[in-house]
């Protein structure tokens, strides 16, 4: 098991390294000159040849690209991600503030979506064709199709504007005000969780149906075990294998969806930051966020790979 894990970890680190190179280069290649952007934002300054060179030197933009890259990389390990072009404030400060928020909201959505989906899908498979299956499957089909921002707006309209049950937007830490925090989180978490929830339900149903027709399940029936025992002890563990993949993809989906949902519900997380940074072409933020996103995705893929090895004993040794 250990060699399996080590191999995967090494591969992940390599991919992360390559991703950082890609992020760095991509931002460098974008049209527009960062210095000019910086200068034109502060329109009071006059553009002067010497001043421009000075600015370049300050921001380290006069050195060859490779050196710039390693400077940046070095900075990251020291916790310095550069300064925002727009606000001149340290990028890392802002990220430190916002990251936990996104992690909390996204984490909740992840857990709700993936964990609830498993029993939902199992029920559908066992009661195949009956009304419970049809209802849940229909809801899952809707959940897969509805764009999360649309759901957000619809929920906001219904629950916040019309019925006034929930606050419109905003974020509070549960430690500050638990009740308000929960009420504020209901809509965003639902919006983020619905897609993975629907996906996991459908996948679980489908893989359970497939597992239940396998030979080893017939063996289990021939032993005289009860249906419930067969499902829980024999089938579910086998059926969950594709769910692990879904969970891996779900992380990427929640990160992506998080950007949109944070914008809709006015939550000050990394997603919202990324959106404004990209629109304002504030590239230090863009670099930093891109790197964080890549790290999160690669990390979750790594965990998925390892989880596979744990669930399915055949993979461990192969």
């Amino acid at each position: 098991m250990l060699t399996f894990v080590t191999r995967r970890v090494v591969l992940a680190i390599i991919t992360l390294f390559l991703a950082s190179v890609l992020v760095f280069l991509a931002v460098r290649w974008l049209p527009g000159d960062p210095i000019l952007m910086l200068v034109t934002k502060n329109t009071y300054q006059e553009i002067n040849e010497e001043y421009e060179q000075e600015l370049r030197r300050i921001h380290g933009l006069d050195k060859p690209v490779v050196v710039q890259y390693f400077n940046w990389l070095g900075g990251i390990f020291k916790g310095d991600l550069g300064d925002s072009i727009l606000s001149q404030r340290a990028v890392s400060e802002e990220i430190q503030r916002r990251f936990p928020i996104s992690l909390y909201v996204g984490g909740l959505a992840f857990l709700v979506g993936h964990i609830l989906g498993i029993p939902a899908g199992v029920i559908c498979a066992i009661r195949r064709g009956k009304w419970l299956d049809t209802t849940i499957t229909t809801m899952a089909n809707i959940g897969i199709t509805i764009p999360n921002f649309l759901l957000g707006i619809v929920l906001m309209y219904l629950l916040a504007f019309k019925l006034r049950w929930l606050p419109i937007a905003g974020f509070t830490w549960p430690t500050e005000d638990f009740w308000l925090s929960t009420k504020q989180l209901i809509m965003p978490v639902i919006c983020l969780a619905i897609f993975p929830l629907a996906g996991v339900t459908r996948q679980m149903r489908s893989s359970m149906l497939e597992v239940m027709s396998q030979d080893y399940i017939r063996t289990a029936w021939s032993k005289g075990l009860r249906e419930r025992v067969i499902v829980v002890r024999h089938a579910v563990k086998n059926g969950m294998i594709p769910i692990v993949t879904l969970a891996g993809m779900g992380v990427a989906g929640i990160i992506g969806g998080g950007a949109v949902i944070e914008t809709v519900f006015n939550i000050n997380g990394i997603g919202r930051l990324a959106v404004s940074a990209v629109i304002n072409q504030d590239y230090p933020y863009v670099q930093a966020v891109a790197l964080i996103v890549a790290t999160a995705v690669i990390l979750s893929n790594l965990i998925v790979d390892i989880a596979y090895g744990w669930i399915d004993p055949r993979i461990r040794y192969g």
Binding site: A19, L150, G256, V278
Partner: protein, 299 residues
Amino acid sequence: MAEARPDSLSTSTEAPPRVSGFRRFSRIFFGRRLVAVGLVIISFYFVLAVFAPLIAPYDPNYPDVKQALSGPTKQHLLGTDAIGRDTFSRIVYGARTSLMIGVIVVALAAIIGMTLGMIAGYLGRVVNALIMRFIDVLMSFPMVLLAFFIAGMLGEGLRNVIIALTVGLVPIYARLMCGQVLSLKENDYVLAGRAIGARSIRIMWRHLLPNSLPTLIVVMTMMLGTTVLAEAILSFLGVGIEPPTAAWGSMVNDGRQYLLSRPLLSFAPGLAIMSMVFAFNMIGDGLRDALDPRLRGLL
């Protein structure tokens, strides 16, 4: 029933009717109600897109400021937005934008991605490692965010949106095709082809490609839905097509400010997005079940 004779080798009962491949496909594909619904919806939008100038009552960009922010009336079926543009006309033209972008992006990404995937799958380990590492890196970013970053960096505009979405979609095709080729490569007919000296390209074109077709078709249809959705998200966030052009995503965003008073401004384009994505997904599901039900677990 044929006369049975002891020395004949035939059986007394006739062979069951061979259910032809196409008949079976049609029965499964068109048999499902949801697929039919999906086809109807897509045809509807297709008609809207093609005949937009004839169907839309108003110029989608014409600001009739006196009628701004009106609800549904006889003149404006779905009301008007903040500067008086007719929502219905904008939705009609938006169909054109969405479908056009969807088709172009999916086709482009398929060509590029499939080529990459086939090369990676077929041409040995080094090539495979190089290409797939690169794909892995691209896939380290959620597709929407990747497209968003690219579109944001490149700027607004149709061309940039297409580039961004294509780049977002290519890794999916590349991975898929690589996997297909890797498994098909082991088949005997490939070995036979190599044995008679066929060049790699010929094998890829003549054998691997046609045999991957069912999976590919299903994936492409489903990717249409994903692309339309991604484009909507991009315009919603503000990096889509340039402002005056009607795009459903930006319409939803614009309508947010007036959500309490005129919810239709956001809901109408939102519903349009959702129905189009739903239709593509249903068609994709139907295709998958009809072409190869074994794919159920995978797709």
